[in-house]
Homo-oligomer: 196 residues x 4
DNA sequence: GATGAATGAGACTTCATTCAT
DNA sequence: AATGAATGAAGTCTCATTCAT
């Protein structure tokens, strides 16, 4: 028996769940649907998840890990903060487009469960990474120092994600993607760039 | 008087729904719970709402109407834009605190239904009101003119609501309410105030 | 709609339950079996009983009511206590034979539920009736007065039922029914008849 | 040593079963509960017992063995029958108090299985022991000879156990333990003692 | 003999919705 | 319009049992 057998079943269930719930919604997806797609028995589900709701934090975790990984990867070679920020915004728009269904499911899933608090936990490494970028930029004199970096990191991440969600999920039709990304960037830049 | 009776039942059901769903969540609340609290018969529900999901847009509408009304009321006597903005931020924090359960239910409810699009519809008058305020401020030279007012109105409303939600719902513990409001305000101000 | 509609469904379920559970046992009987036999919908069961276990006290009540009624009826014309006792014993043997399956289900059902205490409640009118007979017999000098009538009533009822159950359910093969009844009667008579 | 290991597992399972089933009832106890408490693997259960129901006769056997053993031990030095009987009654009350949960489970377990008949088999050595005591007492002229010893042995054992169960399990509140035991003893004595 | 992950049948129960009154 | 008993489909979850290691 390979050491990864356990993970195989767990992952099969998790991936099946993400696909089906993204498509049909949490409420309309039955555990029976999930196990059928995952190719495991009904009871096997309960060896890995206590209930249908217990899937949601796992899915959320998965989503944030992917987002963080991709964001880091795309931005790692940027020469200065404003370039970093522009690349970050672009990548968040990409990810939001690709994963919009998962994003919606994760929002609703956590809200349904009254477990919105765990957002902060899941986002923690993400916020910390962004905070570090802010600190470095402040150190370099690229952005002003008079802001609360912790709060600002959270705020920017949220603002960018929100703009992207409004564009791809809310279907804000008044503006193109380029314009939308441009407005976000300019708004942030104006607020953070040091006076010339 | 007959018309009043009808409205009474409708409102009794809507209010009961808001209270119970806020507390127990949409999924765990049955129509039986709602009608029991509303004091009407099981079948009566279907005279006013097609299904359980049909409640959600009504609840969302209700929430946004209250928010818009209160925001207008509180800000109506503000002398200039920065004062208006500060009052607006404060009031959104108030409302988020008071209605956090309803906010969560409305998020999850609309997501469940894959009807996130209707957010834009419901928010429309709210965004328009804020847009008008922005336009007036631009006209007065209180804020810079180089921003897309439509997009910026939406962005600010979202940003403020998000900050408030992060504070009251996400339970961000790193900061006091005053600091949080202050950061939002400063961030927006820096980005929009004309260079002296 | 007749006033007895409610009782009709309730009784249909109760009678169906008694028949099927007597035959197949509590554990092997599903609610689905019961409602099928009763001719009502699955959900209707839950309008009248909270769960499968909630049937048991109702069935027990039913059994004891029948037993008390038949015992009273059969013994009502007996001239003296010893004749009464003989007739009572005979009738208990009759009933035990006829209802042995129900008796077994009620024993096990209440034990399963850890609700043995309710026996005392259900038996109360039965014990009281027998107690009155004992008091009358004492008053008439037909039996000795030096016994605790409350306790003795319970003891005799239990002893007679036990003997009958041992005969019909335990399948004690060493003795005929007549001999068994005779032994019970003689034993009780010896213990209660006044010295000549 | 291998044989010892086998017995260890068997006994671990049996004792765990008795404890858990006594507490939660047969129906609510799963084999998973039992093996967890016994500290063996799920599959190991099936090396020793064919099914969950197969536990019950083993538990019943265990209970009766203990009862017989204790009864013999306590009564072995009694000088005459009436003293023996008094000691026996007292000891049955003791045992009933100590093992009431097991008694309830054994009742329900056997009834569930429609295997009430096996009572007679399990009780056989117990009844025989009591029968021998009766015969000896008749031989000594301590009790009357006109009774069917086989039937009477069964009847007395049942009557005493019933009284004790009514007291400890049925929670008959009308009487103290001493009074209850006294009534049993007097009732039996009156019926069996030779006329002076 | 011992293990325990995996199975999958099927039981219980809930609940949105209907409809006769 | 209002009622609420009745429906029955469908979902969740449990659990005895198996079997490859």
């Amino acid at each position: 028996m390979s050491a990864t057998t356990v993970n195989d079943k767990y992952n099969a269930i998790l991936q099946a769940a993400i696909e089906i719930i993204s498509e049909k919604g949490l409420y309309s997806t039955s555990i029976s649907d999930i196990v059928k797609k995952a190719g495991v028995a009904q009871g096997t589900f309960y060896l890995y998840f206590r209930s249908k709701n217990a899937l949601i934090p796992a899915i959320a975790q998965n989503l944030i890990s992917i987002t963080l990984e991709k964001s880091k990867e795309k931005t790692k070679d940027r020469a200065n903060f404003m370039e970093f920020l522009q690349t970050f915004i672009d990548e968040i728009y990409n990810i939001t487009d690709e994963y919009k269904d998962v994003i919606v499911l994760v929002y609703s899933g956590l809200a349904i469960d009254h477990s919105m608090e765990i957002w902060e936990t899941i986002y923690k490494p993400y916020y910390e990474w962004f905070e570090d970028e802010l600190k470095r930029a402040i150190g370099n004199g690229e952005i002003i120092g008079e802001l609360n970096v912790g709060w600002t990191a959270k705020m920017i991440v949220n603002m960018v994600e929100n703009a992207a969600e409004r564009f791809f999920i809310g279907r804000d039709q008044d503006i193109t993607r380029e314009e939308s990304q441009h407005e976000v960037f300019q708004f942030l830049k104006r607020s953070m760039a040091p006076a010339k």
